[in-house]
Symmetry: C2
Subunit: 322 residues, 2 copies
């Protein structure tokens, strides 16, 4: 499916998701809380998680409109994470706009995230959502331990991104399947699709951190390295680098964060020398191919269009620029 | 029931609650996350919320040991709130010990709170818990709007404490009743008992902020005023104060927080002049009396001991020094 056709298929569903969220937060009496949530929820988000859930449910034959009410839970969870992350990172920009903590301070940002967590209550499959959230926090802790660790292995990198990104995307797809009502095998296939997609998504995210255009990503280049986050391009380069290059990276990581920003060009050169970006792109491609091959289990002719959309979404993960 | 007998009745239940929490967090693989949670969960907490839930369930005839697994959810929710509050307030002490944000930084504190939220999943009555959490956040927002507002009315004060404290305590008691299996009237009575108790608890908390001994409360005197939080003793004093006394308080509140700490003695004098502390104590007593009278609906002889414990807990709210 070409990007234009994909976008055309996603748009009406994204609109329904937005409407469901708007109706859901209309009940909030507190004006500031509503304003904070509107700012964070309607901020150019692509609705990847709820869309995945909706299309996975459709793939399993679901026609129930209550689906949107379930799907928005994933956007809530995602946005709650972003709100708290921005406080943690003292981030002032998100999607090219000022963050909640910048405009209103850390207190409304933390509380609004907690509010979104509380809004998950009463939704179906909350167990799977909660397990995914707990795994997400464990992934963040693993990342925290490994900040500035020049010896982080690719295995541990994949453990981190599985926790912080892929488990939730897998849950999103699995819950779509559960809601749609399907066989255990199909449910498992959609969970695996989500997991591969989620990992690829994060690998590409980490690539964009080095290679993205700040004007479209809304983020500064090399932010991960500044924060001491070791990602696949650099891990791959270090796997092949000379001892003195290891020493160089180690010495840069031991400097205070404020100074690291002046060494991004050096780090990028090293990654390019060992084709770390090419390697990471290739890994993302392998993950996406494995993910889409899971969809082969759905053979019914009526599912062809939805399957094409899910494959299109997976391809989009590889080509996205922001 | 005298304090010694009450304590003797609470102790074995508190122990079972602690064991349930210990077993529950044993599954966490990440060493730091486990350490952070052990520090925050086993830190001299009185387990008021899970104990209330357990005894409300017992009052309704519940003998199911699975009750403890449900009850710990309330301690999780409470501790998650404390973790996030300490980040928001940049607090360095909690129950006489260093806070998580002081020892390990804001990131583990926010994430550990999120983890505890995620651990609520899969418990019974999650709907009631989530609604109470959402109300709690709304209460915090209402407090936020009114920081430094010298004209806060007693009505708005009670709205704030209902949201930030009482709704959760009411939910704790109601869920105990639901778990115990009881009539709608008894369920409602226990919800009202919890609501009154929760309000009284917060009124006393606000009293202790001015009158408590920092050595036993673990908190600095006058902290609420420093943060611009208007509480019942001062609201009552201002209701009766002269215009120039209003102006004085308004001018103190307009000073930067760092300077307000030097004016606590002045504020306390004003409160004492109009017997604001006596008034707040009296209001707490009225709330506790109304709360315990809700228990009259339980007339069975077999419930006498549990009823005495719940009345004892309510009395404890009035007499506690920390």
């Amino acid at each position: 499916m070409d990007p234009t056709a994909l976008l055309a298929s996603l748009k009406p569903e994204a609109k329904k998701i937005n409407i469901a969220m708007q109706e859901d937060i209309r009940v909030i009496r507190d004006g500031l809380l509503r304003e904070v949530l509107e700012h964070s929820l309607f901020n150019g988000g692509k609705r990847v998680r709820p869309l995945l859930s909706v299309f996975c449910a459709r793939l399993c034959g679901c026609t129930d409109e209550a689906l949107y009410n379930l799907a928005i839970a994933f956007e809530y969870l995602h946005v709650a994470t972003l709100l708290h992350d921005d406080v943690i990172d003292h981030a002032d920009q998100r999607r090219g706009q000022q963050t909640v903590n910048t405009i209103w301070g850390g207190t409304p940002a933390i509380l609004a995230g907690d509010y979104l967590h509380a809004r998950l209550g009463g939704r179906q499959c909350l167990d799977i959502i909660c397990r995914a959230t707990a795994a997400m926090v464990e992934g963040e802790f693993l990342q925290l331990h490994n900040a500035g660790n020049a010896d982080l292995s690719a295995t541990d990198y994949f453990k981190i991104i599985e926790g912080k990104t892929a488990i939730l995307i897998a849950a999103v797809c699995e819950i779509g399947a559960v809601f749609g009502g399907t066989t255990v095998e199909q449910q498992k296939a959609l969970r695996n699709y989500g997991s591969g997609l989620g990992q690829a998504f994060q690998v590409v995210d980490d690539l964009l951190d080095y290679l993205g255009d700040p004007a479209s990503t809304g983020k500064a280049v090399g932010n991960d390295f500044i924060e001491g986050k070791m990602t696949l391009p650099l891990i791959h380069a270090l796997c092949n680098a000379e001892p003195q290059e290891h020493d160089l990276i180690r010495s840069l990581l031991s400097e205070p964060e404020a100074k690291r920003r002046y060494h991004i060009a050096t780090v990028r050169q090293l990654i390019e020398k060992y084709d770390g970006f090419g390697y990471a792109k290739q890994q993302a491609k392998i993950l996406v191919d494995a993910a889409t091959s899971e969809l082969n289990i759905f053979t019914a002719g009526s599912t062809a269009e939805t399957k094409a959309i899910l494959i299109g979404l997976a391809d989009y993960v590889l080509t996205r620029k922001k």
